[in-house]
Symmetry: C2
Subunit: 231 residues, 2 copies
DNA sequence: TACATGTTTCGGTCACGGTCGAACCATGCG
DNA sequence: CGCATGGTTCGACCGTGACCGAAACATGTA
């Protein structure tokens, strides 16, 4: 009837409560097994299996078989983008699933988005890097300048040494802040380094990220270094 | 079961083929009547009425009653954002509804996105304005500089004189180009001016925008003026 | 006032898809 | 080799929701 891609099919896949819960659970970037996702969706393993097969065929999930386990993760960052956009839109409208409690507040401060840092802390870091000239946007493409390396020195992240061929830097629209934060290979590396250095700890039960005392100092230092360049 | 907004309900609304077609039809920013939308969705007016009521209650559409007509439009730019994100994701995957024909090509060159110009032309214009310093991104917020006015002189658009209190400039991720183009009050004004000056003509049957000869010259001139500043 | 057109409501049909119980396959382990 | 566990397939059930015909309602027009 109309031209363009088939939106309805994709949206319908996300439109089932069980599947939406599974997808949301995978927003933290971790891969989960089929049974774990069944629990997330509140359905039996058989039902979950059918759902997961659909999501895979629909291009929303990628499956990795390991032994007798099937690990699922979001198929691409584009999927996460759609989910975040839907959260932005659904936010406020409709009955809130749970009233905003302390966990909700924690999510706003810092959380995992796919595989990088989101929330107020993520946005603050991104804007400090941009303001200090460590990131520049040319032709709408984010580029790293030579100011990035010193700024990230406390973290021990060297942008030039990151493996992979996917996009180094991407922006990702933040659900709670409605501003951008840093995604892509560099965003992932920064979050990994923060975890490895025990700056932050991920709440295993949600997407929340807790800033540890050492991390508070460290993050402020990185932000300071990045912004200091601005002069 | 989970925290966060209720994605599933919103996605399910978009997940019906008839409703998805209606929403896509409204992506051009125009308001359409219930019967027109029924035709877009390929359903009878009764069925369309039920769909439209749901979409309105779900916060996706806004209704304006005028006489015996009900005019519907997208409720917010956030809705358009979700739709474009879904197009980005669904693009390529799944069975193409129609094989890419001439109309599809026209859509990639220039089309209407909500109420502003998208496609290759939209992206080119945006990037020229950015590259020439007419737009600057500070703290991830787009700002207009004093170079904007001369660049837009051929169009007769004065950014300072635009009414309204919504965001002046916004970026919008382009479905076909996967890069940004200009949205917001200014984006809308530019497209309006192009139409008023007969630079472009909108295909009434699709979102395609046809560049007229006079417009070809004019747009190239604006891009040239914007980029010339870059030196 | 009568009529035409656009829209909505009502009632009833029907198909699709989510769900689970039970059984089946595959892998790892003792 | 047998058992346990994770995952999938099959079959059957059932509720939801899309759909349309008919009719009611609203508004503009002759």
């Amino acid at each position: 009837m109309r031209n363009g891609p088939d939106i309805a099919a994709t949206a319908a896949l996300i439109g089932d409560p069980a599947r939406a819960a599974m997808l949301s659970a995978l927003m933290d970037g971790h891969a989960l097994t089929a049974t774990e996702l069944a629990a997330e969706g509140g359905v039996t393993p058989q039902t979950a299996s059918a759902h997961l097969a659909k999501l895979e065929r629909g291009g929303l999930l990628a499956r990795a078989r390991q032994g007798r386990h099937s690990y699922f993760r979001l198929a691409s960052a584009d999927v996460a983008q759609v989910l975040e956009a839907l959260m932005t839109l659904s936010h406020g409208t409709g009955p809130r699933r749970t009233r905003p409690g302390p966990r909700d507040a924690a999510l706003r401060v810092a959380r995992v988005c796919y595989n990088h840092l989101a929330g107020a802390e993520g946005v603050a870091l991104f804007e400090a890097l941009r303001g200090g000239g460590a990131l520049r946007k040319d032709d709408d493409i984010l580029r790293i300048t030579d100011r990035m390396r010193p700024a990230l020195a406390p973290l021990g992240v060297d942008p030039a040494a990151l493996p992979g061929q996917s996009a180094m830097c991407r922006t990702c629209l933040d659900w709670s802040e409605r501003r951008h934060h840093l995604a892509g290979r560099l965003g992932r590396a920064i979050l990994s380094a923060m975890e490895a250095k025990a700056w932050v700890r991920r709440d295993p039960a949600s997407r929340a990220v807790v800033i540890l005392p050492k991390g508070r100092i460290g993050i402020d230092r990185v932000i300071g270094l990045a912004a200091a360049n601005a002069i």
